[in-house]
Symmetry: C2
Subunit: 206 residues, 2 copies
């Protein structure tokens, strides 16, 4: 049996210090197991890294399954329902980015974005692609005047607004003149994000 804590600690340490910076010794110690168990279960540091990526992807897939199914249904319905579903999905994503629990695995993903490895392929395929596909479909439904590329670009930019809440956390705090993104500030940000999304998606067709 793989020690339960090993993967959680691995995600945290790899996210914090990067692949080269994290040490299997410390991960093992913090997991309450021997370093050689990493070799045994994962074949080495690289194997552990990949397993950590899949661990994250699994958690995301698990958590998004419900909201995603509901949103997907809305992509077939009327336009305003699709807009509402998209705004709700984005808001949920923003909420996740605001929660402290997202920090460890978000750090991991952010690193992979900068210099993608095989780990990103697994993160994408298992955790991120399902969300992205639904997102794109909803944008396409909300803005039938858009071509495929434009819908994809818009989905990305909408994502960006939520992602900066985690990936640009330090700047966000400075910009908003707060020490941490507390609940009040988070609510304000989410309200603005919803308004922005609504505005972008409902723009009168020219």
């Amino acid at each position: 049996m793989v020690p339960a804590r090993l993967l959680d600690v691995a995600v945290e340490r790899f996210g914090e210090s990067g692949f080269e910076g994290a040490s299997t010794r410390e991960i093992a110690r913090a997991s309450g197991t021997a370093m050689s168990s990493i070799t045994y279960h994962f074949g080495g540091k690289e194997g552990l890294y990949l397993a950590a990526a899949e661990h994250i992807a699994g958690k995301i897939a698990e958590r998004q399954a419900g909201p995603l199914a509901a949103a997907q249904a809305a992509a077939e319905g009327p336009r305003d329902k699709a807009v509402a579903a998209l705004v709700g999905l984005l808001d949920g994503f923003a909420q996740m980015m605001l929660r402290a629990e997202s920090a460890p695995w978000a750090r991991f993903i952010m690193r992979e974005q900068q210099t993608p490895t095989e780990a990103f392929e697994r993160l994408w395929a298992k955790g991120m692609k399902p969300v992205a596909d639904t997102f794109i479909r909803l944008v396409a439904r909300a803005r039938p005047d858009f071509g495929d590329k434009e819908a994809r670009a818009t989905a990305l930019l909408l994502f960006g607004q939520a992602m900066i809440l985690r990936g640009g956390r330090a700047s966000a705090c400075k910009l908003l003149e707060v020490e941490t993104l507390d609940d009040d500030t988070g609510a304000l940000l989410r309200a603005r994000l919803r308004a922005n999304a609504l505005c972008i998606l409902s723009e009168t067709q020219r």
Copy 2:
């Protein structure tokens, strides 16, 4: 004299592998100097890291000085001029995020966002704050119906749309179904970003 290449290489290596992951040996070797020159000039690895952060901040400040002065003037003028200036500034920022040259220092900053250290303080104060302040002032001018917090939140979310072009590069490529963000794709993204910003900033006041 500090070897000219040392700081550039340091930014690249620290950005690529993080503080713990990067090695002073390799930085020194790639800079064509001895490892001990790092100790001499910067007191050690940590000193080099801080110097690299200030190096980045200086480059940003230098590059943004011109556009910023022009945009600042617009913040005093009529509302539609402020909107145009803001959209232009954001587009320039997006263009920078799209260019390959931004990768090394953007990686460095992204890392600092996740787990800020003293280096982030210097990055912010010298490089990022001037841009952010101008941005906020322009948003406030464009949307006089906003309170201060709302203007700041909106500025952040606008930033997010540009930042994801670099900070979420891997996802962007997957989502847009391209190998790299070439000029055509970049132009499409910038066009959508401008449209989104225009829509958010010009929304009819209720």
